[in-house]
């Protein structure tokens, strides 16, 4: 009886949520159905089922749209940026948290200040030119790593505060060196925060559009986001192919999201609630 009342009480919120979820489902359904339509059907922009599922759209987009090349470029940039972010930012965060003196606290606020800093297109262009880096993967990777520093340092610093110092002391007494202390003692305990930062960095770098647009100049280097943008420009009459390209673009990131959801959600909100 009590369960019945509870169910009834929850039915109104359920219906409200179902209504709201339509705003999320409809664009996704339109995209997936559209990717299986032919040209004339797709341009009708409706939610009708395709007459004959056109799986060949996928083969055509992969062949003509250079999507795989975009995947490759995004993969290279994302993986290197992520590894560097974790190592460079993680070491800085651990050190700042453990030293906890005036100097390192100063550095901490210096990094946090970076959260308010905006990208300077013209100066960055000239800076990269003067280092002879403009148009290279290294340049965008360094920009991504620099942009990730405030969040990474902040989350590592606050996480390490919760790791008991006695652990480090025991290891030091046992005669481990600095390198062992960081990699063998601390890193394993910091696994949750490493995972969180890894995923947040992967998603933000993989999805980034503007930095690659500003600082990568040849079509060969285009990332997934740039590829899809240019694909849309070239094939704007072929909506069936555009929808297909969109589906192909989001598959990897949606797969990662559904698989590691728990860490993404905790990561995106890390530090946020503790304040």
């Amino acid at each position: 009886m009590e369960i019945m009342i509870k169910r009834k009480k929850n039915i109104i919120p359920f219906i409200i949520l179902l209504g709201i979820s339509m705003f999320y489902f409809i664009p996704i359904i339109m995209m997936i159905l559209g990717s299986l339509k032919d040209q004339t059907e797709a341009i009708m922009f409706n939610l009708n089922l395709p007459k004959n599922a056109q799986w060949k759209n996928y083969a055509e987009v992969i062949k003509r749209g250079k999507i795989l090349n975009g995947y490759k470029n995004s993969f290279i940039i994302t993986s290197i940026s992520t590894i560097l972010t974790i190592i460079v930012g993680g070491f800085a965060g651990i050190t700042i948290s453990r030293r906890n003196d005036k100097l390192s606290n100063g550095f901490y606020y210096y990094f946090i200040f970076g959260l308010t800093i905006t990208l300077q297109i013209a100066s960055m262009f000239s800076l990269l030119k003067s280092f002879n880096l403009y148009g290279s993967f290294i340049s965008v990777i360094l920009i991504f790593v620099a942009q990730r520093m405030p969040f990474t340092v902040m989350t590592f610093t606050s996480f390490v505060k919760g790791v008991p110092r006695s652990l480090d002391e025991a290891a030091i007494v046992d005669g481990c060196n600095v390198f062992q202390l960081y990699t063998q003692i601390l890193m394993p305990i910091l696994k949750p925060i490493i995972l969180t930062n890894t995923i947040v960095t992967i998603i933000s770098v993989w999805n980034n559009f503007n930095i690659s647009l500003f600082f990568l100049n040849s079509a060969k280097q285009w990332t997934v986001s740039l590829t899809i943008y240019n694909f849309y420009g070239m094939f704007s009459r072929d909506w069936h192919l555009v929808f297909t390209a969109l589906v192909l673009t989001i598959i990897p990131v949606v797969a990662v999201y559904l698989w590691l959801q728990k860490y993404i959600v905790s990561g995106m909100t890390a530090g946020a609630v503790k304040g």
Partner: protein, 293 residues
Amino acid sequence: MLIRREKMFYPAGLIVPALVVFTLFTIVPVLMSLFYSFTDWNIMRMENPEFRGLLNYQRLFSDPIFLRSLGNTLLFAFSTTFLKTVIGLMLAIILIKKVPGNGIFRTLFYLPCVLSTTVVGVLYKAILASNGLLNNGLNSIGLSFLTFDWLSTYATAITSTIFIESWMWAGFNMIIFIAGLQAIPSDYYEAAEMEGAGKVNTFFNITIPLLVPAFTVVITLCITGGLRVFDLIYVLTNGGPGFDTQVMNTFAFRAFGQGLLGESSAASIVLAFVVVTISFILNNKLKSSEVEA
């Protein structure tokens, strides 16, 4: 003694790589922009720009397109912040209860946050085009008089970008608010119930004040994110119709594309100033209204 020995195990040198990359690729460009914004730096005079004082700033503030960009940026940042916060809080309040399908709804509402803005922008072009999904839908339910070429006028184009941005990020705020709501001890509510406080009363006198830390995070992130908008505008309207929906970042990029590097730098500096000032004010205001739970 022990303290000094211990510090050896956390050499300050390990902060240096992060410090160098961060300084070089975020701080130095700002200082360069500040310097170049006072010069006639352009693509023809890359090497030897001449000092021109406040000329670039005078030009910017007498350029109607720049003033429009500044206005649009503020409008976009504040209205998206409002919508994302209200919708996010609403979703969180519903989803904190044991509604059937709870997990699925959370997953769905958060989904747009992991999509690339480019994908979202192109997708919404298909929805908002004059023969797009929205108009077709309106036609099929007998509301043909409401159909419109949504991206063709300023009012509807900017409103569309505001709604799409809010659609993308409301789920993010929802997650933060859910975490915030879960952190409120349930005895507060029990005490309120014993005292006979109504639901509305409880909401405004217990829930909202105790959610202030969550509001601080949400509002700060939304405002600074909104002021930096580039991708969505660039993909969806490209600043059009005409220059009507330009924002600061698309303006800076356009000036950069025209080779007007000094003017582009000045625009970037104005934006940086706006972002720092607003985040500073917000942080002070919100921090001072936090209460101890």
